[in-house]
């Protein structure tokens, strides 16, 4: 069964991750890149080969073009293609899977994966692939909403804490401390208890539960930028505080927060689908990634494809999203 559960894209993406140093831990002494040597190695690497290449070489490297860049990172390329396909499914599910996700052919019920039904059919004869494709939009929108809520709320809190300082800073940071002491899943569950059920509320709950991390990073960045010369200059020139905040501090401090938002996508997909699996998301028969898995749960013994494929798509999407956001992180490191 493992070969059906592990299609090439997962394996390749994982391989690419390892081969191209997405996690800093990958970079052993001989293959350390400029990014690694400049960003996250506390002490200089040993040996000649770890010396940072000259700036001209780095520029030439960047000029080689996006195609070459991707060819050296097969994991990243596969991730991009996969995410593009998922986005297409979200925007135009009818093109990817023309069938009807809600009605099925009872005669075709519980058929295994094959040419007719790529991912098989469920107990009502509905095509699993079609349902998966049509559930993509809802799941991805919930994920995006969760990331936006976390980003906006966390960034605002962090900005206020870092810029105003004093009592506001203390209050916000204590709040962040407490939010980080409660597991995020539980925090989302508490918010859902209060708000009620539904995909939008789930997304909101996930976003609220993730805001604390953003606030912390944003505050640290604001504190770093606030003492910079150009901020003092702006103050001295008589720029109003809101002007300083929006024109000078915000644009110079949101980099790490945006990278964090990219990484948050994978986390949010998992959180949203977990809550949807628990039954707090869309009401049946509306398909959603997490609820598709829980619908197939009663047939685990006889129809493995009902749970295996939706779960596989979730895992592959998270993997691809993480790979891409880590690439963004590394490239940012290169630019600095």
């Amino acid at each position: 069964m493992s070969e059906t559960l592990d299609p090439p894209r997962t394996a390749e993406a994982a391989d690419g991750d390892g081969a191209h140093g997405a996690t800093p831990a990958d970079r052993s002494g001989t293959e350390r890149t400029a990014a690694a040597a400049t960003t996250d190695q506390p002490w200089p690497a040993r040996g000649k080969d770890a010396v940072v290449p000259p700036r001209s070489a780095r520029l030439r490297g960047r000029a080689r073009g996006f195609g070459t860049f991707l060819r050296h990172r097969p994991g990243l390329a596969v991730s991009l293609v996969f995410v593009a396909f998922v986005l297409l499914a979200a925007v135009a599910p009818g093109i990817v899977a023309p069938g009807d996700p809600l009605t099925g052919e009872p005669a075709d019920k519980l058929q295994g994966p094959g040419a007719e039904h790529l991912f098989g059919t469920d107990q009502l004869g509905r095509d699993v692939f079609t349902r998966l494709v049509h559930g993509t939009s809802l799941s991805l929108r919930a994920t995006a909403l969760a990331v936006v809520v976390a980003l906006v709320l966390g960034t605002s809190l962090g900005l206020a804490a870092g810029f105003v300082g004093g009592v506001v800073d203390d209050a916000v940071m204590r709040l962040v401390d407490v939010l980080q002491a409660i597991p995020r899943l539980l925090l989302s569950l508490a918010v859902i208890t209060a708000l009620g059920f539904g995909t939008t509320k789930v997304a909101f709950a996930v976003g609220l539960a993730s805001a604390a991390g953003f606030a912390r990073v944003m505050r640290a960045e604001v504190l770093r930028v606030r003492s910079a010369g150009y901020v003092e200059a702006a103050h001295a020139c008589g720029v109003r505080p809101t002007g300083v905040l929006l024109r000078h501090i915000l644009p110079n401090s949101w980099g790490p927060v945006l990278v964090m938002a990219a990484l948050e996508f994978g986390v949010a997909i998992l959180a949203v689908s977990s809550l949807s699996f628990l039954g707090f998301g869309a009401t049946p028969p509306t398909p959603e990634w997490g609820s598709l898995v829980s619908e197939g749960r009663n047939y685990v013994a006889t129809a493995w494809w009902l749970t295996a494929f939706p779960g596989l798509v979730i895992a592959a999407t998270v993997l691809a999203a993480n790979r891409i956001s880590r690439a963004l992180d590394t490239e940012r490191g290169d630019d600095r």
Binding site: M1, L5, T10, A14, D17, G18, A19, A22, T23, P24, A25, D26, S28, G29, Q41, P42, W43, R46, R174, L175, D177, V178, L179, Q180, A181, I182, P183, R184, L185, L186, L189, A190, I192, T193, A194, L195, G196, G266, L270, S273, S274, F277, L278, G279, F280, G290, V293, S294, R297, V300, A301, T307, A308, G311, A315, A316, V318, L319, N322, R323
Partner: protein, 314 residues
């Protein structure tokens, strides 16, 4: 040391109080209607008088601040009121369900440690580049997998194809293994990622050269010199990890149809049973605080230099 302990305990108390207050206002200020759900939801046949009687019983009519002060006073003694749904005492419900979940979480934590540390050590110890890269790419895979999916796959393969372990229920140690592995896989990927990173850093530092020059074996350098220094970042996240595993039981116990705190929580959220949810939130904050405190006290044992450094923030 005594002053440090007192300070940490005060911080812990603050976090507990704030978790209680925060959850209190989130749960009670936002529009949920536990009484309505208890009396049969939208198509309820309860008369307004009946509803008013139940509301009085739970003190829902009182001003919010008065309710809060009352609830806080009760919570200090461990009394989180009664479940709206079952009428049982929240403290009792949690106490009844907790042992099963603690067994599960404990085993999962142990497996997390074994898998995570094992993988990180194997990955950094591997001599060939290929093997090292393969091992280092595993954590990225592990943290991408939905927990519920891992559980269902394990049930499919281990319980139904191999018929090796039970798929459902709480009977004996056998039924504990699959849920614990399910919980441990993503968590150990998380630990392995952190540990492998700090191991790589540690192995590149000068004192490793010194140890090698003195003739220490590769294994000894790895375990005795590098791991001991690299363990701290992984240890730091243990408080978060313990809390996460405890909460993950909501998903895992649902997948494996186990009784326990996770099921109690899932049911409470499902029925908007506010007192129960609040009790669980405060409990998880307590677990986080206790584990973090324990970890902080362990620090000096691993790294004597830390004893003189003032307390970190939680």
């Amino acid at each position: 040391m005594a002053r440090y302990l007192v300070r940490r305990l005060l911080q812990a108390l603050f976090v507990l109080w704030a978790a209680f207050t925060l959850s209190y206002f989130v749960l009670f200020a936002l529009p949920s209607d536990p009484v309505g759900i208890k009396l049969g939801g939208i198509d309820s046949t309860a008369t307004p008088e009946e509803i008013a009687a139940v509301r009085d019983e739970y003190g829902i009519g009182d001003p919010v601040l008065l309710q809060y002060v009352k609830a806080l006073r009760n919570a200090v003694t461990g009394d989180f009121g009664h479940s709206v749904q079952t009428g049982g005492e929240v403290r009792g419900m949690i106490a009844d369900a907790l042992p099963e979940t603690l067994e599960l979480t404990g085993l999962a934590l142990l497996l997390t440690l074994v898998f995570g540390v094992g993988l990180a050590l194997a990955a950094t110890y591997a001599r060939t580049r290929r093997l090292r890269q393969f091992l280092l790419s595993l954590p990225a895979l592990g943290i991408s997998m939905p927990v519920f999916w891992v559980g269902l796959l394990l049930i499919q393969v281990v319980s139904f194809q191999w018929r090796a372990l039970p798929a459902l229920g709480n009977e004996g140690f056998d039924s504990l293994i699959l849920p614990a592995i399910t919980m441990a896989l993503p968590a150990s990927a998380f630990i392995a990622q952190i540990l492998a990173k700090s191991m790589t850093t540690a192995l590149a530092s000068p004192y490793i050269d010194t140890a090698r020059a003195k003739g220490a074996s590769r294994a000894r350098i790895h375990i005795h010199h590098a791991l001991r220094n690299a363990a701290l970042p992984a240890l730091t996240v243990f408080g978060v990890l313990a809390g996460n595993l405890l909460t993950e039981s909501v998903v895992v116990e649902t997948v494996f149809s186990r009784a326990g705190l996770g099921r109690v929580t899932a049911f409470a959220v499902d029925t908007q049973d506010v007192p129960v949810v609040q009790g669980v939130v405060v409990l998880s904050a307590l677990v986080f605080v206790l584990v973090s405190l324990l970890v902080d006290l362990l620090y000096p044992l691993l790294d004597p230099r830390i004893a003189t450094v003032p307390a970190r923030r939680v």
